[in-house]
């Protein structure tokens, strides 16, 4: 299953190879041109020479992960996050390390030997380490080098009532949507940019946009859902099961008002449940895409995900399918429109 495959491959910012290769394999039969650039963005084009609006879909391939920055004398690995990870989700989790794919665990002091006040304090990144089961530094150095990446080992699983658990739903869910949408039969130029390094500063998107020069762009994301106990309703941002979330504003972008209005109206017309993203925190590739060269009209459609940027995030299949339906209808509408404005 597409989403299962996509979430189970590994791709940290700057090292998206596995993800890129899988996506390339999936889309080859449906597109006319595929290319990469100096940063590793994967750009796929349908109908390159057609007349009509140039529509860009963007989803990022990278996931947050851990970089090995030091090897202690006892062989334990020091690490730092690439992209934002709350250190509290790390302790006592399993990881897979480096090119050699060595198993590791993120160590923690046993509860028996902790003082009560210690258990109240969160462990900082500097206090954590990865144990590969080696005896010493030399043995560790034979298995892994500095700069290599450790990933979460979460397996994709469907559970509960139509829910999915996986790592990297942010933004493999966006990649999956783009792959599905590339299979649509359309006559205008449709370009999917599978971008790199979004998690470390929206790095790949502007570079891709510079090459594509789109008329408008739809950014497909996995976004935070805080509809969980202990959160006031007004801080939920998005809720699972209420449909894809459409952004009006985040830290990086104020989305194009006419485009946003159109998407809400279309959802209403086609009876697709949607929600507004009730939060202005965070940022997506839209921020860079909007401001490249002379500017682009942008909108962000995101699938709500709980526990984002942690080993196991959760989404609802209904929201995922709803996002696909909404964008598919939007693209079809563009197709039918005589003069594109």
């Amino acid at each position: 299953m597409l989403l299962a495959q996509l979430t189970e491959v590994n791709g940290a910012p700057g090292q998206e190879g596995e993800v890129r290769n899988l996506i390339r394999e999936q889309i080859e039969p449906f597109v006319d041109e595929i290319k990469t650039d100096a940063l590793g963005n994967l750009i796929a084009i349908k109908n390159p020479r057609a007349i009509g609006p140039k529509v860009m879909l963007a989803a990022h391939m990278d996931e947050v992960a851990l970089m090995i920055v030091g090897i202690k004398n006892n062989g334990m690995l020091e690490f730092r996050p690439i992209g934002g990870i709350d250190p509290r989700v790390l302790v006592a989790k399993t990881v897979i390390v480096g090119k050699k794919k060595i198993n590791g665990v993120i160590g923690a002091k046993p509860i028996h030997l902790q003082r009560p006040d210690e258990r109240e304090k969160a462990l900082s990144i500097q206090e954590l380490y990865i144990d590969m089961g080696v005896k010493d530094k030399e043995e560790a150095k034979r298995l892994v080098s500095l700069g290599e990446i450790a990933y979460f080992t979460t397996k994709y699983e469907e559970f509960g009532e139509g829910k999915v658990k996986a790592k990297a739903l942010d933004d493999r869910v966006g990649c999956a949507l783009a792959i599905r949408l590339l299979q649509e039969d359309l006559s205008f130029p449709l370009i999917a940019a599978f971008t790199v390094q979004e998690e470390v500063g929206l790095r790949g998107a502007g570079v891709a946009t510079y090459q594509i020069k789109p008329d408008l762009a739809l950014i497909l994301e996995g976004t935070t859902a805080s509809d969980v106990p202990g959160t006031d309703e007004h801080k939920h941002a998005t809720s699972l099961g209420k449909g894809p979330a459409i952004t009006f504003m985040d830290r990086a972008v104020i989305t194009h008002p006419p485009l946003v209005k159109e998407l809400f109206a279309l959802a209403n017309e086609k009876n697709i449940p949607v929600q507004a993203r009730r939060n202005t925190a965070g940022g997506t590739d839209a921020g860079q895409i909007q401001l490249t060269e002379s500017g682009t009209k942008v909108a962000v459609i995101a699938v709500p995900c709980r526990y984002i940027h942690s080993p196991a995030s959760v989404m609802s299949k209904k929201d995922y399918d709803g996002a696909y339906e909404l964008i598919k209808h939007y693209l079809r509408c563009l197709e039918e429109r005589e003069d594109f404005q």
């Binding site: 006031d232 309703e233 007004h234 801080k235 009006f248 504003m249 990086a252 104020i254 008002p257 946003v260 507004a276 009730r278 939060n279 202005t280 909007q290 401001l291 060269e293 002379s294 500017g295 682009t296 009209k297």
Partner: protein, 332 residues
């Protein structure tokens, strides 16, 4: 000039939703420019053609103001919100906001210690008695602004959004005064400055100017126990040396200083520790644009009652007009 400032400051234009302001400006300047256009981000660009050997100057004043955006409507009809641009908690409590359809609301806070107050403890009351009633008047994602009228105190004027409608007013006035300029003048009324100098970035990329000048406000230090700042009301147009988005090109700074001296325009030097302007975006476009800024000294910036001195505004207009006609070969 005062009437122009009044009209502009009372208009509705939070970042991303500036069309009322740009339309108003368009009516003010349409008879005085050679060409007007808008771009993808909503920037309004007004062009006055210059002599054939003149340089291309981009003047930028931003049309957007800080504000709020509705993120949630609760069961009782109260609204929760996020801020748009740099809005301080202390300027919100007890103040009124206005939404595009004219709906007015009051901002207040949950029970909490003042020092613990964060945005998520505030709410807006539009007087609705239920969620349904509220939803008929505003929606999630609705943008709002401070609701405050303009006040004329004589030399000093108070209004919301002096930042940067007074800058827009300076350019509007300059457009009316300048006849047959030496240089090609691109007056850009930019969008989304308050959320990251966004409109200016794409406008400058498109226009490729030889010189970029932002006309924006700067803070003053002439109030009781104010944070240290040497700029004061009534001492003239402020010529910027640096702020956190830009170190003004030394030649541009010198050109402005020399013009002010030569034309006997009162001026003061501005070093701003925190804060940026459109020039910060302009100077880094493509392979670089020498840029600077003319700042209007303003007290209480980013509060609903920003105060300026009309004499500083007039000095800023004079400086813009002088620059429009200056030969700029030293920038080559």
């Amino acid at each position: 000039m005062k009437e122009t400032i009044r009209q502009l400051t009372e208009a509705f234009g939070p970042s991303g939703y500036e069309t009322e302001v740009t339309s108003l400006i368009k009516t003010m300047i349409t008879d005085f420019v050679d060409e007007i256009k808008t771009d993808v981000l909503g920037n309004l660009i007004a062009i006055k053609k210059g002599a054939s050997n003149g340089h291309k100057i981009m003047f930028a004043a931003h049309t957007d103001e800080i504000g709020v955006v509705v993120t949630h409507i609760d069961k009782e009809g109260f609204l929760r919100f996020a801020t748009v641009g740099g809005v301080g908690i202390s300027t919100l409590v007890g103040n009124r906001v206005r939404f595009p359809n004219g709906i007015i609301g009051v901002i207040y806070h949950e029970k909490a210690d003042w020092k613990d107050l964060k945005i998520d403890k505030l709410y807006i009351d539009i007087g609705a008695e239920s969620k349904e009633e509220a939803m008929e008047q505003v929606k999630i994602g609705e943008f709002g602004i401070f609701h405050r009228e303009f006040c004329d105190l004589g030399n000093r004027l108070i209004a919301k959004s002096m930042d940067d409608r007074v800058g827009c007013a300076v350019l509007v006035e300059a457009i009316k005064k300048i006849k047959e300029p030496r240089n090609a003048l691109y007056f850009v009324f930019t969008t989304q400055e308050e959320v990251g100098l966004r409109g200016a970035r794409t406008a400058a990329y498109d226009l490729e100017p030889d010189l970029g000048i932002a006309v924006d406000v700067t803070i003053t230090g002439d109030m009781p126990e104010a944070r240290r700042m040497e700029v004061s009301l009534g001492k003239g147009a402020a010529i910027k040396v640096k702020d956190s988005s830009l170190i003004v090109h030394p030649k541009v700074k010198q050109i402005l200083m020399d013009l002010a001296e030569k034309n006997k325009i009162p001026y003061q030097m501005e070093v701003l520790e925190f804060g940026g302007t459109d020039a910060g975006a302009i100077h880094l476009t493509r392979s670089g644009v020498p840029s600077g800024a003319i700042s209007i000294p303003t007290r209480y910036v980013h509060s609903p009652s920003e105060m300026i001195d009309i004499r500083d505004v007039e000095a800023s207009v004079d400086l813009v007009v002088a620059l429009a006609n200056k030969e700029l070969n030293e920038l080559n």
